[in-house]
């Protein structure tokens, strides 16, 4: 059953060397309350799996600025100068992964698959060192699943079974990351009684969710 915990308690579970998959796209749909609690604790040497490194003062950018991330699998760094500087200084090891491939590799882990075959990256540096497999005459790159210890996600409403709904483009990678955490912690705007969510509206079934954290802020003003 799902437990409701504080952001500080969520952050305290995450130890050095943990692999954390984090939802959000350019900080929209990022679990800001949990991230802030992590920054307060300052645990270092984390591996981050995320679509983009966000901004220095928003989303996972805050973990980067505070030197908590030692390696990352990410598709886009362009909005965060700190991560590019740390990469150039050799402080952080980056594997750049095409965004669609990143999603499928994360989803694979959550879905019990070893990986996926994708044409994305053929003829580019992305295919270097990887196995190429032909299916009915077409080449694909074998992209292995990406494992994570924790998934930290942001949703809109949760019921006490951990069923989740999302809001607009804040959904993005969250339902995918949610599937892939050995432990999944969802930060939500509101926790309602079981039965108050229409099962038709549930995007992430509670089976994927272990802990709920109430969001402390509406940094998303229009909620």
């Amino acid at each position: 059953m799902v437990k409701i915990i504080s952001a500080a308690a969520a952050a305290a579970m995450i130890k050095p060397k943990a692999r954390i998959a984090i939802g959000g796209f350019l900080a929209v749909g990022a679990p800001e309350t949990i991230i802030d609690a992590m920054v307060e604790l300052g645990v270092q040497d984390l591996h981050m799996i995320v679509i983009a490194s966000d901004w220095e003062n928003r989303g996972v950018g805050k973990l980067v600025v505070n030197h908590m991330i030692s390696s990352a699998q990410v598709s886009h760094l362009g909005t965060n100068k700190a991560i590019q500087a740390q990469m150039n200084a050799g402080e952080i090891a980056i594997e750049l992964v095409p965004q669609g491939t990143l999603m499928e590799r994360v989803r694979s882990f959550g879905a019990g698959l070893g990986g996926v075959l994708t044409p994305t990256g053929l003829g580019t540096v992305v295919q270097e060192g990887k196995q190429i497999i032909a299916i009915e005459g077409k080449d694909y790159i074998l992209e292995p699943a990406i494992a994570s210890d924790f998934a930290l996600i942001r949703a809109h409403k949760a019921d006490k079974m951990g069923n989740l709904t999302y809001r607009k483009t804040a959904r993005n990678s969250n339902p995918i990351m949610a599937m892939a955490g050995k432990i999944t912690i969802a930060e939500v705007d509101e926790i309602v009684e079981t039965g108050q969510l229409d099962p038709e509206d549930v995007i992430t079934p509670g089976v994927f969710v272990n802990y709920l954290v109430l969001s402390k802020e509406n940094n998303n003003g229009a909620r």
């Binding site: 929209v28 053929l122 580019t124 607009k168 339902p175 229009a222």
Partner: protein, 217 residues
């Protein structure tokens, strides 16, 4: 680039869009096209962070923090819009369900190769969704300045930067020309008003095939 040149490229991109197309426009220059969609042409814009049916920017004061496009800009939803997760978004993209994608480029070459995600040792923003878009979209259009800041052609015999995808570009739209990528190489289809074919050829590092009729745009 001057606004009039940006608008000219935007207007020319818009001519490529057909009624009923599902379209993904890259950040920056390609989005200029939204201002020039011809009357009677209805296209559905996708944003790879998880939305179809992207509408115009909201009026100041009505922005919703949970409504952004892939560049982080605020957007609205048109009637018929839908939201979905990132894996579904890239299933749409990679699975061939997007008719046209328009992207910027650092370099593009005569084989239809595209480089737009890194300059080794200088700038590594990452590929984001670009590799999936270029791989999966039915038609890939590059929209860019013809030359870089130093006046060097960005249309090359062969890309020197790390590729985004191999052989996927079909049309190149610049402030100087519209170039088609064919099996026989690059074909100069149109030139900008006020230029001569010679000027475009001189500004282009790749070899251009010149058909009998080259139109102005």
């Amino acid at each position: 680039m001057a606004q009039d040149k940006r608008a000219m490229i935007g207007a020319r991109i818009a001519k490529e869009l057909k009624d009923g197309d599902f379209v993904n426009l890259g950040i920056g220059l390609p989005t200029e096209a939204v201002n020039f969609i011809p009357a009677g042409v209805h296209v559905v814009f996708q944003s790879e962070n998880g939305m179809l049916g992207v509408g115009p920017s909201p009026e100041t004061g009505t922005e919703d923090q949970d409504m952004i496009n892939a560049g982080g800009g605020f957007i609205t939803a048109l009637a018929g819009a839908s939201f979905f997760d990132s894996a579904t978004s890239f299933a749409i993209i990679r699975g061939g369900h997007i008719d046209i994608t328009v992207l910027g480029a650092l370099q593009v070459d005569a084989q239809g190769n595209l480089a737009n995600w890194m300059i080794p040792g200088k700038m590594v923003p990452g590929m984001g969704g670009a590799m999936d878009l270029v791989t999966g979209a039915k038609k890939v259009i590059v929209a860019m300045e013809h030359c870089d800041k130093n006046g060097n052609s960005k249309v090359l015999k062969e890309c020197s930067l790390p590729l985004t995808a191999k052989g996927k570009v079909s049309v190149i739209i610049t402030d100087m020309a519209v170039i088609e990528v064919s099996r026989q190489g690059l074909v100069l289809k149109e030139i900008a008003e006020g230029l001569t074919i010679d000027e475009v050829v001189k500004a282009t590092a790749a070899e251009l095939n010149i058909p009998e009729v080259v139109k102005y745009f």
